[in-house]
């Protein structure tokens, strides 16, 4: 669905490329998580996927990026937006209206969805994010987690083939963060949507992502199922990425010769594996 070939990008105001020689393939229907240290180029990578680069930020663009078979350089940002839904980092500036319902309507109206289908789309998107009861509410009166769900619902209503989210849970508490991931994963599974999410909370990615992509210094260091990537917990730490504690614990026990099973991605897996070791 997303195909990146030898992609390098340098922002006009920076001296060095932020992303360098990236080749990456994200098949349709995959839930891909991207993480890495600050300044590693992970946001830039998502901008390349939703067309914000090269269309909004000027700079030197090398290589090709195609999304759903369309070259992002030749298509307009508006055309790309028909296939790719984007949720950016700053929730407040992402929201363009004052009422939940209007926010969801906004994109539907713009993209010319036939008026007789709009009502169903609005209801469906709000339900997918579990916020049908907030429909009439003023967005300013919502909590951070609720606002983020509104922002995602307003993009889901457009039925994007690809959903790109840049740190959607940065300002949320653990319970709401988890809920956002659960809702996203369920929606993507039911609709075959490809999801690309940049996230610092690696425990969430380990649990929900099909593919975990680790970016460092503008290059991709790992792009594989979380279980494979997390096997390298010490190497990851050097890249500024801290594995979930459950993974680190089991990897340490494996190094000490106490555990021989597969890498554990979450608390449940680690607890079950540990039971075998100690019982």
């Amino acid at each position: 669905m997303i195909h990146i070939q030898d992609f390098t990008f340098r922002y006009r105001e920076s001296e060095r490329p932020v992303v360098e020689g990236v080749t990456l393939d994200i098949p349709a229907g995959v839930f891909a998580g991207i993480t890495g240290a600050a300044g590693s180029g992970k946001s830039t990578l998502t901008y390349a996927m939703n067309g914000i680069i090269p269309h909004c930020y000027p700079g030197d663009f090398y290589g090709t990026v195609t999304v759903d078979g369309v070259d992002t350089c030749t298509a307009t940002l508006t055309d790309l937006s028909r296939a790719v839904g984007s949720v950016c980092q700053d929730i407040d500036s992402q929201i363009v209206t004052s009422i939940v319902e209007d926010e969801v309507l906004y994109g539907l109206e713009n993209f010319g969805v036939p008026h007789d289908r709009i009502e169903a789309r609005v209801t469906e998107a709000l339900e997918a994010m579990g916020i049908a009861d907030l429909r009439e509410r003023a967005i300013a009166s919502l909590s951070g987690g609720q606002k983020q769900k509104v922002a995602i619902a307003s993009v889901l209503a457009l039925h994007p083939k690809v959903l790109v989210l840049d740190e959607p849970t940065a300002e949320l508490d653990p319970a709401s963060s988890r809920q956002v991931f659960e809702l996203l994963a369920a929606y993507a599974r039911d609709n075959g949507t490809t999801v690309v999410v940049v996230e610092q909370k690696i425990a969430l990615l380990s649990e929900f992502a099909d593919v975990l992509i680790i970016v460092d210094g503008g290059r991709i260091r790992f792009a594989a199922p979380p279980r494979e990537v997390l096997a390298h917990s010490e190497e990851l730490l050097e890249l500024g990425v801290n594995c979930p504690r459950s993974t680190t614990l089991m990897n340490r026990l494996a190094n000490a010769g106490l555990y021989t099973g597969p890498v554990c991605c979450d608390v449940r897996e680690a607890s079950e594996a540990l039971l075998e070791v100690v019982a």
């Binding site: 600050a38 508490d173 026990l253 608390v267 607890s271």
Partner: protein
Amino acid sequence: MIEFRDVHASYDEDIKVLDGVSFQIPDGEFVAFVGTNGAGKSTTMRLMNGLLKPDAGQVLLDGVPTTELKTSQIARRVGFLFQNPDSQICCSTVREELLFGFKALGEEGPDAEAAVDGVIREFGFDADADPFLLNRGTRQLLALASIVVLAPPVVILDEPTTGLDFRECMKVMGIIRRLNEVGATIVMVCHDMEVVADFARRVIVMSAGAVVDDGPTFDVLRNPHALGRASLIPPQVVDISLALPLMDERLVESPVALANTLDEMQAAVSEEAGR
């Protein structure tokens, strides 16, 4: 010493946020407040430096009610790091930013200059850099440095690690720990339970405007009832250590059922497997 006596607080007159909160924080403590968004944590922080005054009850700083003090007076004793460093940063160079606090307090002079130079060295800043061109993590460090430089006896931090990557997070928390070691009282709001487990010595759990648990860090983090009430999940190692005896009751007496940290758990497992 910070003391809350049955504090009630609200916004806009009619939105109640705190509903009878009481606790004491003696000098030199390292306390983490945990709870979901909207539990009243940030309000509690704002009450501590007088940005907000209680509707009922008392907030006492060294025995003096905050209602008798101006926030700008409290500023000398209580440093406050806001969640978003951008609301704090306002000068055009790092050096000026660090001097700004002294200016605001009317304490410019050679001592202030020396303190600023020391902090610039300690944090490894470029003194002439424009704060607005620094990345998010460095801006957060700068905001923290502008408080550290004033060496207030109490430092309040509202989610100091939000939006930071792991290295930045460890750097910020390392500095906060050092402050505490040289005597500063640290009060922080933190969502990351791993950070809470690693750094705090006492945890106060808030839910719906009330304190639901308060005690030494791991006593609280091992209390699933209180954490559950506040929709919180314990740190992963504690979670595993609590889960194991439930999965196999022979482990109830085992050291793995008591391990709180990675090292403790690793040692406990080695011991258990060695039997």
